[in-house]
Each structure stands twice: as C-alpha cells, then as structure tokens.
C-alpha cells in the first residue's frame, strides 16, 4: 500500500456553497476540468478531462454538503486505470467558512512499476505530456 496524497484548503464560503463544485459539471469546469460529465449519485459516472487527460471514476458517496467520495483513474493508463484509486473530499463548516480536506488513496505502488516495464515508454510519454501542459 502506498501512502495517500492529502491536500486541504480553507474557503471563505460555507460547505453548502462549495459542495456543488464537486458535483455540478458547470461548476467543475471552473476549477478542475476542461470538460466534465458528472452524475453525482452513488454508482454514477464521473468523467472529467484534466489538462487533456481523461480522468474517469464513479461516485461512491454523495452526502451534501459534507462528504463526497469517488474513484479516480486515467482512461487508458495501465498503471492508473479508472476505479484503481479513491478520492474522499470532506467539507467542514467553520463559522461561515469551509475547510476542504481531500484524501487520495490506493495510489499505484512501486511494485506496479517493476511488473509492468513494457508499458514504460508509453507511460513516461503520458507523464511528460501532462507535465508539459502544466502552467509551471
């Protein structure tokens, strides 16, 4: 098992305002996606294009305005297929603000790299494309 990636942010708006940005495609495109198809109910599809990468998953928990959990992967990426990892977002009210905590679990492990060497060239290419398209 690999350690989860975590990130959090404080936003000057209550959870009721922030939550839909994780479930409404029209709002998702404002911050995370170039394009989004979101069917925000358990078992519903999450499909967003992030910097040209097709991120795909399935909503597992939709509990407005405090918690949303979805699977996450990149279509066509053997090391990171849709369904292979899980993102949990928790929104806590603090006065009239929100603290958003995101935890991304079950990420691909080192072992994967050792056992899937043949796919490396393609994999590295995809990585490089992603990095190349990032604003940094």
């Amino acid at each position: 098992m690999t350690e989860p990636v975590t990130a959090s942010v404080r936003i000057a708006a209550p959870p009721e305002v922030v939550f839909p940005y994780f479930t409404d495609p029209a709002l998702a495109v404002k911050w995370i996606a170039n394009a989004a198809y979101l069917d925000a109910r358990p078992g519903g599809t999450l499909a967003i294009d992030v910097r040209g990468n097709p991120a795909r998953g399935e909503y597992l928990v939709v509990d407005p305005p405090h918690r949303v959990v979805f699977t996450w992967g990149i279509e066509g990426r053997q090391d990171f297929l849709p369904g292979s990892s899980t993102v949990e977002v928790v929104l806590q009210a603090d006065g009239d603000e929100s603290v958003v905590t995101l935890t991304h679990r079950d990420l691909p492990s080192e072992d994967y790299r050792r056992s899937h060497r043949e796919g490396w060239g393609e994999f590295l290419g995809l990585l490089a494309e992603r990095a190349g398209s990032s604003p940094a």
């Binding site: 990636v5 708006a13 922030v18 990171f80 060239g121």
Partner: protein, 103 residues
C-alpha cells in the same frame, strides 16, 4: 524531470539502462543518432536526476536511477493542492462575502 522524458530517444535510453549499466558507446549503438546527439540526451537525463554516471578509466557508464521516478504520486502531490487553490479562488470570486468587498 518530466520534460527530460518528453523526447522518445531519451525514453528509449531510460529503457535500455533501467536494469543494467551501459557505457555511452553501447547506448549510442542502439540509435541512428550521432554519438554527440546521444551524449547530449544523456546529459539532459543526468541533469534531471534520471540516471547515474560512473567513470571507469576513460569509459563513462550509465545506469537508470529508479528512485528518481515517483510518477503518479509526485504528480498528485502537486495536482490536488493546486486544484484546491483554484477551487478556493473560484468559489470566493463567485460568492464574495457580504461586507468583504467594502461596498
């Protein structure tokens, strides 16, 4: 580091030396490139920390540094914090706090 891998020749070099240490000449022999071009690719990869260079007499030997790639994880380590910062900016722009604008 990732830009170093954007070039297909450099990715091929990484593949060649991911399990074994090879001298520059032997790496160059796999390509139709000039030895100088291969040498430049090796320099880029070395600067990116992707390979280790060792001298043995006049030969230079190269080996891949597997620890240099923590691929998906490293990317997400930056991706989610960046994304949440964007979320913050967007939400706070869309929903300015009453009174916070000084109106």
């Amino acid at each position: 580091m990732l830009r170093a891998l954007a070039d297909p020749h450099r990715r091929e070099i990484v593949r060649l030396i991911q399990d074994t240490e090879l001298p520059a000449g032997q790496i160059a022999a796999h390509f139709t490139l000039t030895q100088q071009a291969v040498s430049q690719h090796l320099t880029v990869l070395k600067r990116a920390g992707l390979l280790e260079e060792r001298r043995e007499g006049t030969r230079r030997l190269y080996r891949f540094q597997p620890a240099s790639l923590e691929p998906v994880r490293a990317m997400l380590d930056e991706f989610w914090p960046d994304a949440l910062q964007r979320l913050k900016r967007v939400v706070e722009r869309d929903h300015p706090k009453r009174g916070a604008e000084g109106s």
